[in-house]
């Protein structure tokens, strides 16, 4: 039997790693990959609470499936934007995309 807190700590660690990636990476695709890690951490939390608190109802599972769908849409749109930006600006480095700065 695994205590609930183990899953929560695991999920928090995964979230922290993804958070670091979002804040520290320069490449936009690397940032997108870190966002996927964040969404996975959230999903682990949802499934954990489903199993430990409301195994008789599918609330946690249902929202985990919605997160999955949103993640798929987000990846598709994000990569399309990155490819479009790369075509126009010849760069996917987030710091160099400063068109709106001045």
């Amino acid at each position: 039997m695994i205590p609930m807190s183990w899953y929560l700590i695991f999920s928090a660690a995964l979230f922290a790693i993804g958070l670091y990636g979002v804040m520290a990476r320069r490449n936009a695709i690397a940032i997108l990959m870190s966002v996927e890690l964040l969404l996975n951490a959230v999903n682990i939390n949802l499934v954990t609470f489903w199993r430990y608190r409301t195994p008789d109802r599918s609330v946690g599972l249902a929202w985990a499936v919605f997160v999955l769908a949103v993640a798929a849409a987000e990846a598709a749109v994000g990569l399309a934007l990155i490819i479009s930006v790369y075509r126009n600006r010849d760069s996917v480095i987030a710091e160099e995309l400063d068109l709106l700065r001045n």
Binding site: A13, L19, A30, A72, S84
Partner: protein, 185 residues
């Protein structure tokens, strides 16, 4: 071993593999290798779902994340950068601050839910999974499917999600499609 049961050892192993490969995802210089590490991290999360009894979600994770999103990301990497040759600085100037923030976030979250959570008394964070009939876990997929088409449950978010996926599909095709002048040139 160390007074742990088999499933606990298994969980610790899976968690270590997942976290290790996640660290590789955010630190590797070569983006293509980072994407491969991301696939292993997704697989570790899928195994975690299995240990929680959510087999359907583990399968969905395999199909959607490992099968689709990883491949999409790899395509994105291959279409944007000459990654095999280009060695560029992977981190921006705030990497140290970002690491500090992430560690603080993890420490604070862990501290809170070990000491203060849950607000409901008589439930410890060391609580084990409630003993339930295995048939209830098996039945959860049926409940999930019924909840998705039940007007009193999730039929509206379900339909909105389908429209959102369609919009994302059309939108990404429109955004990524070359402009007409470029196509002629």
């Amino acid at each position: 071993m160390f007074g742990l049961e088999f499933d606990q050892i298994f969980f610790v192993l899976i968690a270590a593999v997942t976290l290790g490969f996640s660290v590789l995802v955010v630190t590797m210089r070569n983006l293509f290798h980072a994407a491969l590490a991301l696939m292993v991290a997704f697989l570790g999360v899928a195994v975690t779902y299995v240990t929680l009894g959510a087999g359907f979600l583990a399968m969905a994770q395999l199909l959607v994340y490992i099968g689709a999103i990883s491949i999409l990301i790899i395509f994105g990497i291959m279409m944007t950068r000459r990654i095999m040759s280009a060695e560029e600085e992977p981190f921006n100037g705030q990497a140290g601050l970002a690491a500090f923030t992430a560690v603080i976030f993890f420490a604070f979250t862990t501290y809170v839910f070990i000491n203060y959570w849950p607000a409901v008394p008589a439930v410890s964070p060391l609580a084990m999974a409630p003993e339930v009939d295995p048939a209830m876990i098996d039945n959860s997929v049926v409940l999930l499917g019924q909840a998705f088409v039940n007007p009193n449950a999730y039929v509206l978010p379900f339909e909105v999600a389908s429209v959102m996926l369609l919009a994302a599909l059309v939108g990404s095709v429109f955004i990524a499609k070359p402009r007409i002048q470029e196509a002629e040139a």
